[in-house]
Amino acid sequence: MLYGKLKEYRALITFPSLTEALGAEKVLNRYNCPYASIPTPRSLRSGCNTAVCFPLERKALVEDLIDDGVVLTGMYEAREDGFFSLVW
């Protein structure tokens, strides 16, 4: 089930720790990308209980996040029928 902003922002990234999620927020801010920090979906639990979602059309920002040193454990497209690893 999709909840909160995830219904609107269909790209979702997960992290090993909250500190990484906070770092990601900063980078997204810098790129003026809207985002929301939401509880990590149970099926994707990787470490950090907070995940960040943002608009799918801006999924290429994942590269900027990684370039900035943010450590991710996963990146997904959220659909009604589940979470699918992002590729582009």
Binding site: P16, T19, S37, T40, G47, N49, G69
Partner: protein
């Protein structure tokens, strides 16, 4: 009150620090990392901002390698117990604070080998003896940046470089210098930096930290909840969580961040020059008073903002008591948790009186403090 004990903890704090703590306590609820709700995230963001500001101040670029602790002592213990094991060798100086001397003594009981580089007053660090101290199993060199007794600065650039030449890590105790002297971990051969939040960084008590360069792995000093990998019994291996179990001092860290931002805005150099100017005035004034003995380098740039002295043979604790009673001058006397340094100075019995101004101290306060010392010295004769 004329507060001249900023080497113990700075006071007053900038108004920004007070407001940041109030803002956190009044408007930002929650426990960072404990629940993903908005309240927890608000505090988490404040803490993260402080990590970033500390990185800016200390020339690092990875906020995850800033570990928050209760104070400098906690950070030093985390570094020392986290790194050293039975059979390892560590080198230290002869003017360390008990925050280093005692953990090293305890580690020695557990089979860690400890060498102290001898020093004499005026020549606090003997490079020949230092080089000779290295052994094949030397894992770490740990020294303070400036003595909390005399303010004497150690040549940390060279100490670190030589440690690296011998394949050892360098842990720097910046308790007396963080926020007052430039410390650029990007350029210095410093692998681990321990700092208090409540001294030169102008934050509240109960804050401090350890910055760890990449590739260094420390065993945790404390194990427990981190808000991450909660289903596992094993402690997470990634930073900062690995070394930050338990609830952080959220409001305090928010205040620390405000202190760091204040320093970045004012400029470390401006703050230091102001404090050194006040120390020069203290030094010059004290030197004129018959019966006063001064300790440490007479070159103000070679000291952190500390002036250490005695009045005749008067017990330093009594001297400072009289200074407070008669003139409201607050100084620290005694051994300053640093018996090693006093042994070197020859002041184990008498201790010393220590004046440490802040950049908020006024010229007039310095003059009144000098007058108070003169009065005590005259009464003694």
């Amino acid at each position: 009150m004329i507060y001249l004990d900023n080497a113990a903890t700075t006071w007053p704090k900038p108004q920004q620090v007070v407001l940041a703590i109030e803002e956190a306590l009044v408007h930002k609820g929650g426990n960072a990392g404990r629940g993903g709700h908005g309240a927890a995230m608000q505090v988490a963001r404040l803490i993260y901002q402080t990590r970033e500001d500390l990185c800016t101040l200390f020339g690092m670029d990875d906020p995850t390698r800033v570990i928050f602790t209760q104070n400098a002592t906690h950070a030093l213990n985390q570094a020392l117990f986290g790194l050293l094991q039975q059979g390892d060798h560590v080198i230290t100086s002869s003017i360390e604070h008990n925050a280093v001397a005692r953990p090293l003594w305890a580690l020695q009981q557990r089979g860690v080998e400890v060498s102290e580089v001898p020093g004499i007053s005026g020549k606090e660090f003997d490079f020949d003896a230092y080089r000779k101290a290295f052994r094949p199993n030397t894992k770490l060199v740990v020294t303070l940046h400036a003595s909390n007794v005399t303010g004497t600065l150690l040549p940390i650039q060279e100490i670190g470089q030589i440690a690296h030449d011998y394949g050892a890590y360098y842990l720097l105790d910046a308790a007396q210098t963080a926020g007052v002297f430039p410390i650029d971990m990007g350029r210095l051969a410093v692998d681990l930096l321990a700092f208090p939040g409540h001294k030169g960084l102008l934050g509240p008590q109960g804050t401090g930290g350890l910055i760890v360069k990449p590739e260094i792995r420390l065993e945790p000093l404390i194990y427990g909840g981190t808000g991450s990998l909660s289903e596992e019994d094993r402690q997470p291996g990634f930073l900062p969580d690995a070394l930050e179990s338990g609830t952080l001092n959220g409001a305090g860290i928010a205040g620390l961040g405000a202190g760091v931002r204040y320093i970045l805005k004012e400029g470390v150099d401006k703050i230091r020059i102001r404090e050194q100017t006040l120390c020069q005035k203290l030094w010059n004034g004290l030197r004129e008073i018959p019966g006063v003995t001064l300790y440490g380098s007479d070159i103000v740039e070679q000291r952190s903002p500390i002036v250490a002295f005695n009045i005749g043979e008067l017990d330093s604790v009594v001297a400072s008591f009289i200074l407070e009673e008669k003139a409201g001058v607050i100084a620290r006397a005694g051994l300053h948790c640093a018996a090693h340094a006093h042994r070197m100075l020859g002041t184990l019995d008498q201790g010393v009186v220590r004046f440490s101004p802040s950049h908020f101290t006024s010229e007039e306060e310095i003059e009144r403090a000098l007058l108070a010392v003169r009065t005590v010295a005259e009464e003694l004769n």
